[in-house]
Point group: D2
Chain length 362, copies 4
């Protein structure tokens, strides 16, 4: 259960870290959208390990194949299945994982729930699962761009205590991609890269915060009550591995203001549009988009996989120690950026289709 996300633009991911492959089936994609495997691959390449010196050295091409739903370069309105084969070279690094539970990983809880687990590379709980999300997100982004010129841009806002200065209202994809840590504040990015490298050399890991903005969001997306736009986005990003917190607009800091300081006053802009002077609401009021930029932040804990020795237990209930061998990813944040973007795009696309229907939107 729980491998499907979305209501009208609905994705189902599948696959373990090792085995035949990972992928996604997208149901509800509008017909006649031009899409190529290359456009999907662009996002997968932003997600894949081994893309730079500060991510896990594991090299995987993560080449995607579109199995269905696209005909002569256009979507059919039928399910789009996308498959990425696993290279399937079972690493000796993982042998210990068959018996020892890695701290702050899902090994023990999977065993508690299912009584069985594919322990190779973390199985279903591996971040490889997000390949399907990012592939689907690439299509969602294309739809949003085609329908509303809507763009979703994420970036690293903070690594540990190093926080970049970024204006969400103007930041561009080019700025995000201009360095390997995906922080558009170039000076801060350099310090972040240095910190990640140093942490990696120590066999340790660090986390941080990804900020994400959606611009040109039409008014009226989102449903009142349970499917509020911020609620659906919260679920979306809190389902990403390693995420521990979520904020929309003013977030936790907003609790330090009073009502008069926090409220977004309305005005009429030069086009006669109703706008807000400030945007502490983060582009959403009453669960529904108000046309301002949607701005959110996601906290990612330090990667659980480290090379330092830790106390743990075996699946037989005996205490032992574990020290991660070989490669590890000292900081997931740069790779988390396309994941966050994908999840936000999926939610927005789903709500766009709720508003317009699958076949009428394009």
């Amino acid at each position: 259960m729980g491998n499907t996300f979305g209501h009208l633009f609905r994705i189902t991911t599948f696959g373990e870290s090792h085995g035949g492959g990972v992928g996604v089936v997208i149901d509800g994609c509008p017909p006649q959208l031009e899409i190529t495997a290359a456009e999907i691959q662009f996002e997968l390449d932003r997600r894949r390990p081994g893309q730079s010196k500060i991510t896990t050295p594991r090299k995987e091409a993560d080449t995607c194949e579109i199995l269905s739903g696209v005909f002569e370069g256009k979507t059919l309105g039928t399910p789009i299945a996308i498959l990425v084969r696993n290279k399937d070279t079972r690493s000796q690094d993982y042998d210990e994982m068959a018996v020892k539970y890695r701290p702050s990983h899902a090994d023990a809880t999977y065993d508690a729930k299912y009584g069985i687990r594919n322990w190779q590379g973390g199985g279903r709980s591996s971040a490889r699962e997000t390949i399907g999300r990012v592939a689907a997100g690439a299509i969602a982004k294309k739809i949003l761009q085609q329908v509303a010129n809507l763009e979703v841009i994420g970036y690293v806002k903070r690594i540990k205590d190093l926080e970049g200065i970024v204006d969400p209202n103007t930041v561009t994809l080019e700025q995000v991609e201009s360095n390997i840590v995906r922080c558009p504040d170039a000076e801060c990015a350099n310090r972040m890269i240095e910190l990640i490298e140093q942490t990696g050399r120590q066999g340790d890991s660090i986390g941080g915060v990804v900020e994400c903005v959606a611009r040109n969001v039409p008014k009226g997306l989102g449903e009142p009550v349970f499917d509020k736009l911020e609620a659906d986005i919260a679920k979306a990003v809190m389902s990403l591995p390693a995420s521990k917190g979520f904020e929309i607009g003013s977030g936790f800091a907003g609790t330090l203001l009073t009502g008069i300081e926090h409220n977004d006053e309305f005005y009429i802009d030069e086009n006669g549009e109703i706008r807000t002077v400030t945007n502490r609401s983060g582009g959403i009021q009453g669960g529904i988009s108000n046309g301002e930029n949607i701005i959110l932040r996601v906290a990612f804990k330090p990667t659980a996989t480290i090379r330092k020795e830790q106390k743990t237990v075996t699946n037989e209930g005996e205490e032992t120690v574990l020290a991660g061998k070989g490669r590890h990813d000292p900081c997931v944040l740069p790779r988390a950026v396309p994941m966050v973007e994908a999840m936000v795009a999926l939610v927005l696309c789903d709500h766009l289709l709720r508003h317009h229907g699958q076949c009428k939107v394009l």
Copy 2:
């Protein structure tokens, strides 16, 4: 759309602030659960306005009626419909709301989405909608208690910058209910109450943070990938009015630690159970409960309704000013406590039923 929550324990709320009434239909409740209207009323009374000097002075009894699904004091397994009548005394205070959009409220976005809105008392976007959630949450809590002795306890952790010291592992409902602000730190509670009263007198409002703990959670609840327990809880609480942020376990603060500092090492306790030494995971690993206490926090912005004058616009697109008249709720936090508890209980109950089925759980 979007008025239904849950998968196996599924609630649908209905009703506007003014009109016939508000309520909820609960589908999937296990049969043969003993439940009374009084048990539901207990939680509604914790939520209702006018319960103390620091909440909105509006007096409403919010008396609930069980319309279906219960027979001779026991649930039937069929839908439980619960209705709370509105007193329906249309206040003159609301007349301006027909034309002026209240800043940081949902008036403008509802109009943008639907082209129509019940402007009396905020209509569907009124916090009265949460009556249905709290009523359903009362039943969810009873199920959790009966099946697993599981208890969900929320409390005010912080009001603006006043933060209480509370141990989530030992706090009791009695401690929470021992003062009107629902902060178990008595000394801090007094200062909070004073701050709320002072703010209310100024016609302003303040927000804060509710913390919530679930204890005796069985291992194995939650689904990997999209329906991770923390993702479902995030959606649940972020769908509450005025919520702006969510954290599980170490949350945003956890991003300041390194992996070796953050990871929860395993050990075997005196009963042979696998436990974690620390609980930065907040009781959930890989989306699945690990048996430790689930601990989470929700940020609530300062109430949007204030008596101070603000700039705004009319539904005709003209700029104007608005000053809330009469009563207002200077701080929603004390009343938000039962709402957070309800949403957490609903998620846990839903996942409990996914694990056991509706009819086999009790």
Copy 3:
């Protein structure tokens, strides 16, 4: 579980035969639809018992109250809750039902599933549950009519072996309502009425077939694969009490033709529209409406409640006999007509919203 139907136009019914009342919550209704309680009551009156000499003599007004979702005569886009109070006069007729399982009723299976049941009047398995469906169907019909001038008309096609001659392409509501058995073939209707009366006097019951047509259905409704229009309609009507069979278009009789006899050849009509010469497909091809009339039939078994003596068992597992006392409904068909119409309208409305979105359809 299972008390919700539909995807975008989604209804949840609640209530037992005895107790506070029965009703429905409709989520996803387009905003700004003009609707009155009287329009809903019109359909409820076609469904209610005691409406004529050939239905059960039990007299109930079944007066509906709209609790939410409508403001100044128009829908808000928010949930519409409709309540019909039970008169709650517990009949002595039902006392035996607490212990004796009525043959071909749901008493025994409810007990097997839930271990508890409201035995008064059949509880949740009573046909009173369909009040909520018919009320929601009245709104669905109004939407279909407003959006596409689409009309859904059902009628009694056959009672036992008495089959009326009716042209589904031209039949009108007035013709259906022109007699109490709701068979537009007036001569046959008289014989049907006579047969029902005679059967009722004998304490027995009879069944038959309801035929239903939807006219002016836009092309393109329905989803390929699982949510084919005929599949959703089949589920809809097979969820009605006492239904035992379903046919679309040529149905079972179509299996006696060969392909060349059965296929619907295409032609271009005077407006340049693609049409079919025949309509053995029943208005649906590949699960999607083709613009021709949708024609379907539903088989209803003879009512299970009869006054003749039958062998049965008690909930204690002892063999006994049962003879229904007092009133019984010798033939459900006339009252089933509005139920079938409602279910067909609900499916069509749901698919219309899938195609257009909730807020863009009107």
Copy 4:
């Protein structure tokens, strides 16, 4: 939309007739079920074209690959993705299909809905889509057998007007598979085969009725109201290509009986179990299984693809004629048997998991 079926045992199929392949993702399969590709292949072989002289001569191996969800021969509880590659040899036979709409096919309605269609081999509307259903059904059958020794057996009951005599209470898979038409009445089967061959030689096609029985069904499966067991089964089988009608138990014929003739009287059997003397209910009462055999029938129209010349139109709106070239399948019934079994098994498995939960059932 509409490519997902089921609630707790949930399948999503994908793929067009031509292109990368067809397949299914199964979410919610209980963990620790032993399953092999060979067990799935057994059912696919019963479904595949070219299996005998009376099915379409198109030869396809339809070899399946399990991509995920199975580890060392056992299910993990995670999604099981199954892929069958298309051979992808685009046939010249299909060229006309790009422009001419085949009568009683989905070509025209797909174009009306999506404005685009993969015309090769029928694209998504091809019966190849059912490969995913049959593969998933194989797993559902295994679960049903392991949990309850429940077996689902379908067979050809009637071809055109040739009806076999079969006892659903005793028929075996071996009897079904003992001839190529899958009618356990050997004498009738011979006449059916002769009729199919003769029809095929004439370029025409015929239909008929598949009957299906589920034995050893536990009491208590199914949900009251909308998700009644017969309603879910009706939707399941009416979503199969070419199905035009559905019956449960006494079906349409039951409408010719009176209540006293139709009702299933109860008795206590030698094991103290509550049983019914007759089984006109078809194993389901009030939407819930009563422990008797579930018996249902599905009407399949004559295959729409024939070699005889027919009038039709082009996608440009011009009238023309079409004569199917090359191979065609004169009767889909023998191949429809495993499809019906699969759909019934999927519904029963879904309801079994609703009752027991995913992880507690095995």
